[in-house]
């Protein structure tokens, strides 16, 4: 079961391809960045001037060959990490993501072990029970 779960996660992760065009990449990064002057919109969703500046900066940095992570890092170095809509998956923030997964795996492993133990402690049938079963089979 654990193997199936791990395989499903791996297939799911490899299935998400990175966007192809520059506009797609700009939009993908901008959708993970909060619009600086809006309350609950991403820079991709907003028409505010500040959101436009963010998108332009992303485009400029992509053309300069920077990675998505480098661009997100730059924006966080100016506004703080709360400008990012998706928390960083490293350091302390990474624990927020990894702990629930680890707990789920531990719980599944515990259940697996418990089922095995329960199967092992079932007592063998007594002679009286065997006789009852044989009689029931004969009569049917």
């Amino acid at each position: 079961m654990l193997v199936v779960l791990a395989l499903s996660l791996a297939v799911g992760a490899s299935g998400s391809r990175s966007p192809r065009t520059e506009a797609d990449r700009v939009n993908a990064i901008a959708s993970e960045v909060r619009c600086p002057t809006c309350r609950s919109l991403s820079a991709a969703e907003s028409d505010a001037k500040a959101a436009g500046a963010v998108k332009e900066e992303i485009r400029t940095r992509l053309r300069a060959g920077q990675s998505d992570a480098e661009i997100r890092g730059y924006l966080a170095s100016r506004y703080g990490k709360d400008i990012l809509l998706r928390p960083d998956a490293t350091g302390l923030a990474g624990l927020v993501w990894s702990i629930p997964v680890a707990l789920l795996l531990v719980a599944l492993a515990g259940l697996f072990a418990a089922f095995r133990r329960w199967r092992g402690v079932v007592p063998p049938p007594t002679d009286e029970e065997r006789a009852l079963v044989e009689e029931a089979l004969r009569s049917s």
């Binding site: 600086p36 001037k49 500040a50 500046a53 900066e57 506004y79 703080g80």
Partner: protein, 176 residues
């Protein structure tokens, strides 16, 4: 009984409105910024008079980088304080102001300065790049840059001349 409860609630509401209406607006509110303690981003922009403004050319003195807009009420309220601050430091030459227009038309800023006074450089920042480099979320925001080019503090909201001077005095006291 319900009459007395309504009266009590009404009195509390009136008192609350009175407190909120009469209290002083928040001033000199320091805010966290990843830039504090780091070198200030270079600012190169076109001033309202068409000249090129460069923040690094002011190295050796304190610079207040003030992001403002003419549609922003706290910006109007702090303008007189900025005037006093600029005037006080004009003779000593130890501090100056660079304003950056935030999401506003240069023509509005020209009218604003012609009417209200103030002769410090104002950068148009048409693209919003300067505001992005400083991580500005909305005006007014002011960044105090030290003589060595390090960002000393970020203020969100209205600043006062005395508040800025207090910060400069603290910076002078802590510098070796």
């Amino acid at each position: 009984m319900s009459k007395w409860i309504a009266l009590a609630l009404g009195s509390v509401l009136v008192a609350l409105v009175a407190v909120l209406a009469t209290r002083e607006p928040a001033q000199n509110t320091l805010a966290k910024s990843p830039l504090v303690g780091k070198p200030a981003p270079e600012v190169i922009g076109t001033g309202l008079d068409g000249s090129t403004v460069r923040l690094s050319s002011l190295r050796g003195r304190y610079v207040v980088v003030n992001f403002f807009a003419t549609w922003c009420t706290p910006c109007l309220q702090e303008h007189d304080d900025l005037m006093r601050f600029a005037e006080r430091h004009r003779s000593t030459g130890d501090a100056s102001i660079v304003a950056v227009l935030f999401d506003d038309e240069p023509a509005n800023a020209r009218t604003f300065f012609a009417k209200r006074g103030g002769n410090w450089p104002v950068i148009e920042d048409v693209s919003g790049k300067v505001a992005l480099d400083f991580g500005v979320r909305g005006p007014p925001e002011s960044y105090v840059v030290g003589p060595d080019g390090t960002v000393l503090a970020k203020y969100v909201g209205q600043v006062t001349d005395t508040g800025l001077d207090r910060l400069l005095a603290q910076a002078e006291g802590s510098s070796p």
